[in-house]
């Protein structure tokens, strides 16, 4: 109870602060994914002509969850270090900070998602039934983001270049995860690379719900994603428990 109240208050304050600083600051967190989305939709859909039907909705189903995850991880990585004064002044659990960061990004995701949805609705691309599955698909993704955020943020206390390594790894992962292209484009003998990629497994339920509208496949993929999300969350929790005192000493 106390924990969630603190998470809620912290999230409200950080949204308020971003809105106050500049209106652009608030718009940025929505505009940034929108820009990325429209540029990629144009480049891959119209220039390179990736041969996928209803490309805008295909891209939406992969790109926005991806942006949610990467921005959560990037913002969380240095979170403990930048909040060191606060952590040292009061009795605060570092986990409150991480959860608030995830919640903050979740709200931004929803705002960006709804903004993209409006033009797509006008174009008549949106499967209404599929939308109902999006919150369900968010659960494993948010669990994964939270667990990984704690792992990375804690590691960053001891190795201050974790942030740069993360950026490097994420930019590579973007190309080996079928987000702007479909798995059919990958030669059969190389597909195992994709299947080993946990990030793709987390994106799949979104694709089933929003693009393929295949709700039987959804539940199979969702269970796999839940397995991955839960594993990351447990790993993050365990690592935090073990390193907690060291974190407060070294931060």
């Amino acid at each position: 109870m106390i924990f969630w109240r603190q998470v809620r208050e912290l999230t409200i304050a950080s949204l308020k602060s971003r809105y106050r600083k500049t209106v652009a600051g608030f718009l940025w967190v929505i505009l940034n994914p929108l820009m990325q989305y429209s540029v990629q939709a144009m480049v891959f859909g119209s220039f390179l002509r990736i041969n996928i039907e209803r490309y805008p909705i295909f891209l939406l189903s992969g790109l926005l969850p991806w942006i949610f995850m990467t921005s959560t991880l990037e913002m969380s990585c240095s979170l403990l270090v930048t909040s060191r004064d606060f952590l040292k002044a009061y009795r605060v659990s570092g986990l409150v900070l991480f959860f608030s960061q995830v919640l903050d990004n979740l709200i931004n995701f929803m705002a960006a998602f709804l903004t993209v949805l409006i033009p797509l609705t006008i174009l008549g691309h949106v499967p209404w039934a599929g939308l109902l599955f999006v919150p369900l698909a968010m659960i494993p993704l948010a669990l994964f983001a939270a667990g990984t955020a704690v792992l990375l943020g804690t590691t960053h206390v001891f190795f201050r270049d974790t942030r740069f390594i993360l950026q490097f790894v994420l930019s590579i992962s973007y190309f080996v995860t079928p987000i702007f292209y479909g798995i059919q484009l990958v030669p059969e003998q190389l597909r195992w690379v994709i299947y080993l990629n946990p990030l793709y497994a987390l994106i799949l339920p979104f694709r089933d719900a929003l693009y393929l509208e295949d709700y039987n496949a959804f539940f199979g993929h969702w269970l796999v994603a839940m397995g991955i999300g839960t594993t990351a969350a447990v790993a993050g929790w365990t690592f935090w428990k073990a390193r907690r005192t060291a974190v407060y000493l070294h931060v």
């Binding site: 603190q6 308020k16 002044a89 009061y90 390594i165």
Partner: protein, 256 residues
């Protein structure tokens, strides 16, 4: 006699210090690549910050904690507050602890002082579901007036201290832990806040009070503990303790 409220038994805290260790993956990698043998053989130094500390605090006591810089006062307080877990030993403490280690911290510097106070209140009074009234009263007391609606980042150190001290003294707690928190306030406000703080401490269970000012210790405390290199060097009456501390310090000074 009154009940025991806080019990610290054989508490030690140590951590590894490795002055040569790199703080980035890159350093660690290049260290290994340069000289793997030396790297793996090098021994780590264990720094013992607290060494077998034991004491007990009863309800109604206000214990002053003094010692030179770096003897482990803050570390001990953080252990009691539940921020650090000791390497060995046990601590039994009430759950309603109000621990403050710095008065110059706002969480969102771009928000106003009032908004930061509201936000902070959920961390200072975690058990209080609705802190609205507490905060309003505290802000009134702080006399920051029109500054309350200015961004926190524009506050001077003294103004930040006013805000925080007014807030933490708004309500009694089972155990207060105050670590050098009076240093930032101006003289007028220090007088005013000291009165309020004393009142609240009198209504509270017990207090641990870290300070370098003998006057403040005399005013607040009923008992004095002196920490010396991670151990308890003295535990007893305030005046005896202050004399003991003065004597020891001047000895150390003449020896060196």
């Amino acid at each position: 006699m009154s009940d025991s409220l806080l019990e610290v038994r054989n508490v030690s805290l140590q951590f590894n210090v490795d002055p040569v260790r790199g703080w980035t993956f890159r350093d660690v990698f290049t260290d290994w690549a340069k000289d793997p043998i030396r790297r793996s053989r090098r021994e780590r130094t264990k720094l013992k910050v607290l060494n077998n500390v034991s004491f007990e605090v009863r309800t109604g006591e206000r214990v002053g904690l003094i010692g030179l810089n770096g003897v482990g006062k803050t570390t001990l307080c953080r252990c009691i507050a539940g921020i650090y877990r000791p390497s060995s030993g046990a601590i039994r403490a009430p759950s309603d602890i109000r621990a403050v280690f710095s008065t110059a911290v706002g969480i969102q510097p771009d928000l106003t002082g009032r908004e930061n106070a509201k936000l902070l209140s959920h961390f200072i009074f975690p058990h209080e579901p609705d802190t609205g009234k507490l905060v309003e009263e505290a802000l009134d007391f702080s006399e920051l007036g029109k500054f309350l609606d200015m961004p926190y980042r524009t506050y001077s150190n003294g103004m930040q201290t006013r805000l925080t001290l007014s807030l933490i003294s708004a309500k009694p707690a089972a155990l207060f832990i105050l670590d050098e928190v009076f240093e930032g306030a101006d003289q007028f406000f220090r007088e005013k806040i000291s009165k309020r703080m004393l009142d609240v401490l009198h209504q509270s269970g017990a207090a641990l009070f870290v300070s370098h000012s003998a006057d403040q210790i005399r005013r607040v405390c009923t008992r004095l503990v002196i920490l010396d290199a991670g151990r308890i060097g003295f535990d007893g009456a305030v005046e005896d303790g202050l004399r003991f501390y003065d004597r020891n310090q001047s000895q150390t000074a003449s020896n060196s």
